[in-house]
Amino acid sequence: MERSYLGTWLALPVVGAVTALCIAPLAILLVYSFFQVNFVFILKDPTLENYARLAASDTYRNLITKAFVSGGLVAAITAVIGHPIAYHIAKRVTHYKSALLILLLVPLYTGDLVRIFAWRVLLGAEGVLNSFLIWAGVITEPIGALLFSSLATHIVLTYNFLPFMVLGLWLAYESLDDRLVEAASDLGAGRVSSFLRITFPLTLPGLIAGGMMVFVMVVGDYLTPQLVGGVSGITIVSAINDLFGTAFDWPLGSAIAWTMLAILCLFFTLAALVISRSTWGRALMGGE
């Protein structure tokens, strides 16, 4: 009895810290989302007005949709690029494995801004790529759409978050039994079929882990779109930022933030549900 009490008491600071650091700010946001703002005064009469405004606004709805579409798109692109990389690191490399993994992570240490500006140098009108293409005679005028476009945003987002996808997939590939792939080819499966029927489903937990990380980070990134997205650079996050800072509309900002959070949670709950219901999910996670 005593020991269990002791445990409870010892756990208390941790619980307290988690509550204070994670839950409290979110709770405050939630409360604010039911308030109203008038000039610089927060009116504390609970109302659903902010959520109604959000529902009625094409702008915010479209921005939310755009954020989720971008998240899904970048997650998909990183998955396509990440699979061969992760496979290679896990299954083909033996001596330089840790070196490769570090190489993969190095860009993450350089900081967002450095990477974003490096891409500007690459993609700009007088940048490396355009200069090369003009030199090579492929084009006569620089391709403007390489930078300050949705394309540029997605290129840089893909580059920035690819390591997270690769890490997720790499772990999955490390635990993938090579003999299963051999067995598939033994039974007549070609490379593509073997990937689709064996490798893909068995590395799916890694894909989902990596995909969730990439998805959440893309949805939350406003710096990259702002700096390389040109006129398409507005995001729901920068709009929230505008509401909190420029417009001093904390309640509406909170309402949008909470709506995003709720959609994300719903999304992940659904994903978890689908995984746990699917046959392979049950097979991989055990139980039935």
């Binding site: 007549g188 046959t279 097979a283």
Partner: protein, 369 residues
């Protein structure tokens, strides 16, 4: 006549061309030579075992046939067609993997149906074939289960069903029984042999367990250090081991090294620490070459005036008979079998004799290694 030719002869008339031919087959991983140029045939509708200790190259051979490893040099032909450069998924060969390699995300029936997807069959045919394979392996009731819900023996059956459902010409089995307990292994041995006969496929079975090899094989290939030491029927290998190594590996034989005094291909005389003996011998021995004389425990028996004098050291009860261990004067341990009513006392000094026709002189290859 080589043993392989003899074998072809015994099977002759039914099949003129071997199912699989390996010629000068070689496999190296960098400077490591796993298989050092081996030649053998597999006849259709036979049960062949590749026997040898781990690292002897037997698994490499299996993987080259399966298409999972490239052939470094040499040839592999299946029904007269070269297998080199044919990818694994296009070879009419299936494998039962050592740890079964069942697909964990698929049910038993989906595992079994996996390979049929590549054969242009309609759904009904696939279902029928899967059901039939599961029935053969007595796994019909487990059809909806997933691999992790099966016991080792059940997984083994599913792995077999998954392979045989494709009706391969050649089924490769990589240590298929090693994960099973002893009792299950015995049962599975009988079943495997039975299965091979019923399906009329050729099974190539890799194992390090000589008992398993003897129980199953029509033809046995003993390997060591990347080379074939001897191939032949189990009886030949048991009774007439070509080398000291084979005699040792298949186990149980008493061996006594010495030098050949004279040899006429069928009968040789050997000089050992315990004296000179004459016995049947492997062909090709030359005077003064190293050799061993081997006796099976049941071929030695106590006899007054026998040629070998020993002191009894141990008794081992083996049911109807006892296995006796004894030491000769140069400390060589010899074992022999006696009936229950004739067990000598420990410490007793007795003489052993043997019939020269039953003893066997094999080449001593230990110097090579």
């Amino acid at each position: 006549m080589t043993p392989a030719e003899q074998y072809a002869e015994t099977e002759g008339g039914r099949s003129h061309r071997p199912l699989l031919t390996a010629t000068g087959l070689h496999k190296n991983y960098g400077s490591v030579h796993a298989v050092r140029g081996v030649d053998f045939h597999l006849e259709a509708n036979s049960y062949v075992t590749l026997l040898g200790p781990s690292g002897c190259g037997k698994t490499s051979i299996l993987r080259m046939i399966g298409g999972f490893e490239d052939v470094s040099s040499g040839h592999l032909e299946l029904n007269g067609d070269s297998l080199v450069n044919i990818p694994a998924n296009q070879r009419p060969v299936n494998t039962v993997f050592q740890s079964y390699a069942l697909f964990p995300h698929l049910s038993v029936e989906d595992n079994v149906a996996f390979g049929l997807a590549y054969k242009n069959l309609d759904r009904a045919t696939i279902n029928r074939k899967v059901a039939s394979a599961l029935t053969i392996m007595q796994m019909s009731e487990m059809a909806k289960r997933r691999p992790r819900q099966l016991s080792g023996g059940q997984e083994q059956r599913v792995a077999l069903a998954r392979a045989i459902v494709n009706e391969p010409k050649l089924l490769l089995l990589d240590e298929p029984l090693s994960a099973l307990d002893r009792r299950m292994r015995k049962d599975m041995q009988i079943e495997l042999k039975d299965l091979q006969r019923r399906l009329k496929m050729t099974f190539l079975h890799v194992t390090h367990d000589q008992e398993e090899a003897f129980a199953l094989s029509d033809w046995l290939i003993v390997m060591n250090n990347g080379r074939i030491e001897q191939q032949g029927t189990p009886q030949e290998i048991y009774q007439c081991p070509a080398t000291s190594y084979v005699a040792d590996f298949i186990g149980g034989a008493n061996r006594l090294p010495g030098r050949i005094l004279e040899s006429d291909n069928r009968l040789s005389t050997i000089e050992t620490a315990l004296g000179q003996f004459q016995a049947s011998s492997v062909s090709g021995l030359t005077p003064d070459s190293g050799a061993v004389i081997c006796w099976r425990p049941e071929q030695l028996h106590p006899a007054r005036g026998g040629a070998i004098e020993v002191t009894v050291t141990h008794h081992v009860f083996r049911g109807a008979e006892w296995l006796i261990e004894a030491k000769a004067q140069d400390d060589t341990t010899l074992s022999f079998v006696v009936r229950e009513d004739a067990v000598p006392e420990i410490g007793a000094r007795i003489q052993l004799s043997f019939n020269p026709e039953n003893a066997w002189i094999a080449a001593d290859d230990s110097a090579e290694k």
